[in-house]
Symmetry: C3
Subunit: 475 residues, 3 copies
């Protein structure tokens, strides 16, 4: 993720401001599009900014020692190559989500889950081009450090693609299009996380409207607080690749939607909780492994360059966090459930990944193992606890992304030097509360108007037939 | 793809010449193999050639500003790394095709589809080594600009792998083996496209013979017209990564084969069209996402270097084209069919990708969105129309690759400056007609001799049992 | 793989020594952890060492011609980027194994196979961090050239990540963490190979204990003989990316376990061999294609740099070996079985990959085709023969990885100059015998104590229900 640029911040402003704004901005987003919104923001603020220390700066130090411009140019080329490869890896995470979510739900809802995933990545990319990117990295704030709104991207090669000169001031070793496409791949993730939690009973049209607003409007606003140089950046909040601004954001949006939507029919009965088993564990396992594969782009690409020191560390901590997470969840669930549970093992791997995402560039080997292992323990307890309070999340998205996203964010202060626990907690709460309130409001309005849930008969029959007239499996 | 080298062209020659040639060349391909065929071609023609302007040339300009040879060397290393990674990504497209095609067909024909895909990638690579590569990039023309025939590749590291010096004249930042392996991965694609269209009733042995000729003979010939410096190169035809020379080539080959083969039994009845549903939408969705993932190598690798300006643009336009295509197909099919159709959404994504493939390096953001969105509309109408005229294409390959391949080729002239609509159309027609006639002739001869279709009982029972004695799914 | 550092070797020591050691080292691995174990080893031995000639050295020659430190620095950055991307590709091979193995077994054992695969990659990575890496690349030998034991990795960025200076002497263009994570991804492979062979009847707890010892203890010891500068390095043994030290190691471990475990119930009857068909060929095909995709990281990453000459060659030979292997197996099995067999085609592709793994950097085009094609023939005969002698290997792992691993190792001496056939054979035997004896001993002890096999009723019912209380497929 972009290193943030500190500016005059107003930390005290309350999240509820954004709900009012969310309603009004829908009428105002036809701002004039110009190519250089993004770069202008950078150059305007750059003089006053004190960039956060990080690998890229150290690396620039190395470059300086070499003196000439030529190595910088080659370093830029290699870094930009990594950026686009990382973007492709993050794209593949959407296949991971699609297979994980469809694998964990029932056969009769598989087409619906897959359709939602194709739609989310598509609308996520397109809205990010139309207004997301320039909202995420604001040229001008409408409410300083809290709210901005940007227009469509233009020709991000307007400077001839020779953006090392300009972007170097941002600490970015990539062209404008490289920056856009890497960030665009992240944008749809939030809605995908919600998609899994509301699966098997949500009304397609309502979800599609929600997805447009959540991924197109709420995500870039929350992201601007941190990566756009807003309020969280001003606080010194650390969230390397997005434990909070991507994962907790999605997880708490999911929680709100599930609370408005209620549980699947027949899940919670007078006789207790009735498990609704996954229809295909191979699909779910494909999903989890692909997510981990794509996470190397998610975390590795967030180094924002090909800095070899940082890349080696981030790949190692990411891997150790994930595998320790799986072991933690295997041990915990075996102890609690008396059986080695595959879905817990898979969720543990993801929990470790989410936990390490905030801090993969600033911790060591032992800390990575501990953060991941604890995430693996947390996710099992969280899944079991949410089920007890009748929060019906078919894929465990709230626990994996929401709860472990917060864990990873605060773990940064525990395991790495130089980060404040309360700041980490505060930042995680700001984003999570915003995601929750935004989602609750939107979903509640949808419920009151077009409805957010299919009828009982449709749910019984399955969304594939009732919404799509198609079945996932044929003869 | 290789930037083409213009030479004395004979634009007027007719495609039917090649059918005669196709018959004779089968007796003549034991040409002496020598390592430097390819490079010799380059250096021979280079003096007279006026290379097409493109990213690589601009980039060489940048390099010149830096003066020293050292940066060129590092740029070469980074570019070559990208070339082999891109080759691996294109390889993965063959898994995408395998899963998409098997997902969209019936359970009883899945083993057959998968077997064909393993065979096609294998024979495609091996024939490309034996004669494809040196036919694709001719050292000498047998019929100037229209037909050449090459022997086996030799040691493409014969120059020590230090080919920057030689290849720089071609605008290629890769070694000989890098060039070979990237192009080899493309070669099998044409036959894979046909494989899906003829699925569920084609006779395996006949298809295997066809595949060898289509991928081993027809593909490198058609490709030589454009990337080998032949007739299309002389016309100023633009086809960045192969909307025409890969996708329309495969799509119109598929059309010919389907016309010879006829529809699946029971598909078109007196009472109308009987849909034959996909046996597994999760498999199909895996296929489409993997195809898009691999397309980053297909289009991105076609930059032929790690030029950061071009890479950022190509990744962005490719992504926008694909996602706009999905949205276009979702909207169109929802309007026409009154239901949000998953298979149309998936085909829309692919249609957008095919449409953007000819022009991803020369268009901007808005054009990419429009080309993709229109491709998504076109593909829905094309699939419905072909069904009405009883062209039975189980996977939609003719519409996705053939029709949208032509769309992308002519869209280049509409949306980008400097390209002639009639030249684009003419080039698309040359290749499509050749692919159609070649395939029709070969398939017709096969039909008259060994037969191209399994018996009615075998089709009923499924090709898995009748051809392979295996079933795709067991207990 | 690491170029080995020769030192005073004692080639005569017998493999059985290690079985005694294996028992004792379990009590001794709490060695003090320090960051620099690895680097110290390098600098200590470096003066006396005569590094094996290879691509990296040639490339260093090129670098020298350029004079300045700057290109070396950029080359280091590009190489390190390739190392971590290659590590991610090798990670994806574990999804390949998971889907291949679960696809080839019966529905009732799929959860069990997937669980084992999640566990293996997790425990493999974690044990490699705890003691594997520093055992694999020993600082000090306990028994010279045969046995060492290392502690936990520390901060491998302790030198600031600027390890080009130190690692350049090792011929490594990567940081310490880059080296660790690439090697760590290999470590779990051995146990995964065994996992497939023992599927459908092995007791989960016994397998998990075995996996920890096989991947955590036996693998780094055998690996140290070659890549750690031990006995095989001293012999001049050539094994580029691990036909022997990864694949034959896993394959012969699998053979031992299957011999202790015996065949699946009902497989071999008085009336002959009863085939137990794959439950999902699409899953198996996904696995094989993903394995080949990941193999580009396995072999390509073993170049240990972004040397463009070597990368182009390795990608080409790897691809030709794999595809020729598929063609060899298709032809052979069609001739023997009278049907085009999909599972044989898939195993042929893998056999070609295993065969080329020892020599991909030192052979040419024709040799690659021949090594692969012969591997494809061998694997068919091996699978059929093992079935005849009632070695029940549900996935063909012993044939693909064990038999073809040895084939690839000795083929190196046949097809490439400068390697001794007897040395290659001797090296392959050392590792295979060690893997066999270690596995036999561990599995035998487990059999005598906790048992290695589920009960007949559990096997009948399936391991998913009996071990996990979960089913792979739901409604």
């Amino acid at each position: 993720m972009r290193k943030t640029l500190a500016s005059n911040s107003s930390i005290g402003a309350a999240p509820w401001k954004f709900l009012l704004l969310a309603a009004t901005l829908l009428f105002s987003y036809a701002l004039p599009a110009h190519a250089d919104d993004h770069e202008e923001a950078a150059s305007t603020e750059e003089a006053a900014a004190e960039p956060e220390a990080g690998p890229i700066d150290d690396y620039n130090g190395l470059l300086d020692h070499q003196g000439a411009g030529a190595p910088a140019f080659d370093f830029f080329t290699t870094s930009m190559l990594w950026t686009v490869i990382a973007a492709a890896l993050v794209f593949l995470m959407h296949l991971g989500f699609a297979t994980l979510e469809s694998g964990l739900c029932q056969q009769k809802n598989v087409v619906n889950v897959l359709f939602k995933n194709v739609f989310i990545i598509s609308i996520g990319i397109v809205t990010y081009a139309f207004f997301g990117f320039n909202t995420h990295y604001p040229a001008d704030w409408i409410i300083a450090d809290w709210f901005a709104w940007g227009g469509m991207i233009g020709d991000l090669n307007a400077d001839g693609g020779d953006v090392w000169g300009e972007y170097a001031n941002l600490g970015l070793a990539m062209t404008g299009f490289g920056d856009f496409i890497f960030q665009a791949m992240f944008a749809a993730t939030g809605a995908t996380i919600v998609s899994g939690a509301v699966a098997e009973r949500v009304k397609l049209s309502a979800f599609m409207i929600f997805a447009v607003l959540f991924v197109g409007v709420a995500y870039p606003i929350a992201g601007s607080w941190h990566w756009g140089g807003g309020v969280l950046a001003g606080m010194g909040f650390k969230d390397f690749a997005g434990s909070t601004v991507v994962h907790a954001f999605g997880g708490f949006g999911a929680l709100a939607c599930v609370m408005v939507l209620k549980a699947r029919k027949g899940k919670y009965t007078e006789n207790g909780i009735k498990p609704i088993p996954a229809h295909s564990f191979p699909l779910a396992a494909i999903g989890v492994f692909l997510l981990m594969f794509g996470w190397y782009g998610f975390n590795g690409g967030s180094v924002l360059s090909a800095d070899p020191t940082a890349l080696g560390l981030v790949f190692t901590t990411t891997t150790l966090g994930a595998t320790a997470g799986a072991l933690g969840a295997i041990a915990t669930s075996w102890f609690l459930l008396k059986k080695p549970d595959l879905s817990m093992a898979l969720n543990g791997l993801l929990a470790g990944l989410v936990g390490i995402t905030a801090n993969a560039d600033v911790i060591g080997v032992t800390s990575a193992l501990m953060i991941g292992f604890i995430a693996g323990i947390i996710v099992v307890f969280s899944i079991i606890s949410l089920d007890k309070v009748r929060i019906d999340d078919p894929v465990g998205a709230i626990s994996v992304h929401g709860v472990c996203g917060i864990w990873g964010t605060v773990a940064t202060a525990i395991f790495a030097d130089g980060f404040d626990f309360m700041v980490q907690l505060q930042g995680a709460i700001y984003v999570s509360v915003f995601a929750f309130l935004f989602s609750y409001a939107v979903f509640y309005v949808l419920k009151m108007t077009i409805g957010v849930r299919v009828s009982e008969e449709e749910e019984e029959r399955g969304l594939d037939i009732s919404e799509h007239g198609q079945e996932a499996y044929g003869s």
